[in-house]
């Protein structure tokens, strides 16, 4: 029993020590970087969307699909080329939260696990992060659709 209490105290001391040694994350700078990075990607998205509506005369839903497809293409290709991860190191969440980050989360693990084969390597690992996103996104949208059908008519 005694040694148990001693251990707990040691653990507490160790945690204090770790907290002192941990590099203080510069949350303000990080947030500023995320703000700029995310803002720029969204502006790029708006430019693509404006191009789709003005040049190709696409209706709103089609313009949205067009924008998503182009951004996903850019995010996936830049990840393949190794550029997106460098951007990510600087802009943090600014590159994770936009849909380009979703594309990044698909390509990165798939590339990493290529040696495990084309089916269980690339084919499966594409969805390591995208899978949960689609599971929760689509499932909750179905719930919302059902609820709206039952109560709002």
């Amino acid at each position: 029993m005694n040694s148990n209490i001693g251990q707990k105290e040691k653990q507490k001391e160790y945690q204090k020590y770790v907290q002192q040694k941990m590099p203080k994350s510069h949350i303000v700078t990080n947030c500023a970087k995320a703000f700029v990075g995310g803002g720029l990607i969204c502006m790029l998205g708006q430019a693509i969307s404006d191009f789709a509506t003005n040049y190709y005369q696409l209706a709103k839903p089609d313009a949205a699909s067009f924008t998503a497809i182009v951004l996903v293409f850019l995010g996936a290709t830049l990840t393949g080329l190794g550029v997106y991860d460098d951007l990510g190191k600087f802009f943090g969440a600014g590159t994770i939260v936009p849909i380009t980050g979703f594309a990044n989360s698909i390509v990165s693990p798939a590339m990493e696990f290529k040696r495990e084969g084309y089916v269980l390597g690339i084919g499966a690992k594409l969805f390591i992060i995208a899978g949960p996103v689609l599971v929760y996104g689509i499932s909750s949208s179905i719930l919302v659709g059902l609820i709206s059908y039952m109560f709002v008519r």
Partner: protein, 118 residues
């Protein structure tokens, strides 16, 4: 669309993600799941549409916007074709992004190899 608004809202939504990264131990996978689900819920409550009207791509490009298009698709299709629509509407509305992500994701993973650490 006013590009200043796009920048402002798009940036602000990413700051929320950055705060979650810095202040919690959530992995980026969990953060993306939280953002999509939050988008679906906010959209269902009618709170996300005003943001889209105000900031366009600033609200639709972040993953919350992905949730918004899933929810709006499901709600609209449920109105026109009932239970069937509730199932098909969301995925239909987001099909472009999902299909592109799978297709370009696969192509890039096949074509490229991860950068070796310098």
């Amino acid at each position: 669309m006013n590009y200043f608004n796009v920048f402002l809202i798009g940036g602000a939504i990413c700051v929320v993600g950055q705060i979650l990264i810095d202040k919690t131990t959530l992995t980026s996978a969990r953060i993306l799941v939280i953002f999509v689900t939050a988008g679906v819920i906010l959209s269902a409550l009618g709170l996300y549409k005003p943001l889209v009207d105000f900031a366009g791509a600033g609200a639709t490009v972040p993953l919350t916007g992905f949730g918004h298009s899933l929810a709006q698709g499901a709600i609209e299709a449920a109105k026109s074709s009932g239970v069937l629509g509730a199932f098909t509407g969301g995925t239909k509305a987001a099909a472009g992004g999902i299909a592109a992500a799978i297709f370009f994701g696969y192509l890039n993973a096949v074509l490229f190899n991860p950068k070796t650490k310098k």
